[in-house]
Assembly symmetry: C2
Homo-oligomer: 138 residues x 2
């Protein structure tokens, strides 16, 4: 069995970067700065399905994505979530929240309908996050 | 500045165990098997506020709590979340979700009102989770 991104995640996001373990995607929803990280291993549903060393790597990449997200999007609070109630393929959300945003102070999951980016804006955000991810970390 | 559990977290939960870094509390809401882990360091809001080594420890304890939770509560899917939009003190939720539970398939955060445990049930759950946390991990 080889890894393939869940079709619903693929439909809702655009690819940003490939880290050592995870594919990083931008949620196509201009209401929130929102990344999704997906470990490129087949058959995962829970974080604890990963071997211990890979879990450490996954969380490290989540934190790297959080810093990159915050460098690109205005952010009052980061939200990190691994839910998977609908899409079971293991994936971790990293969301830049602003006070007063469309879901504030509730969670973004299940909040209304996504508002897709205009194509130029989407491409600019993807490029900016990819650049932030590739910068050396302090 | 010394660490003190946020008063809202203290009001909504009961203490279960003290791990090396985090205090583990049970949310007093019988609708969901729900733990909250709080690193016992003052002044933290984001995961990235912790030094890198402590982040690894925090996620390890989150995974340990997830396994313990699943040993005590029926669980179709684990949900892990660090939000903090309302209570800013860094804390991580670990929730045992069941298909058809009160919030399914949405997130538990912001879902209706908590349904406090009966005292005997609450104490039994706390004891069971504490016992599961203290068992050696495979």
């Amino acid at each position: 069995m080889s890894f393939a991104l869940d079709p619903r995640l693929a439909a809702d996001t655009v690819p940003v970067a490939e880290l050592a373990l995870c594919s990083v995607c931008l949620m196509d929803d201009a209401r929130f700065g929102w990344l999704v990280l997906v470990p490129r291993q087949p058959g995962l549903a829970e974080v604890t399905d990963l071997p211990a060393e890979a879990r450490i790597q996954m969380w490290k990449e989540v934190e790297q994505a959080a810093e990159a997200l915050r460098a690109v999007f205005p952010c009052d609070k980061l939200n990190i979530g691994a839910l998977g109630n609908i899409v079971r393929q293991l994936h971790v959300h990293v969301v830049a929240r602003r006070e007063g945003d469309a879901a504030w102070p509730g969670p973004v999951w299940g909040c209304g309908q996504a508002a897709p980016y205009a194509p130029v804006e989407r491409q600019a955000r993807v490029a900016a996050v990819a650049a932030a991810l590739s910068r050396p970390r302090s």
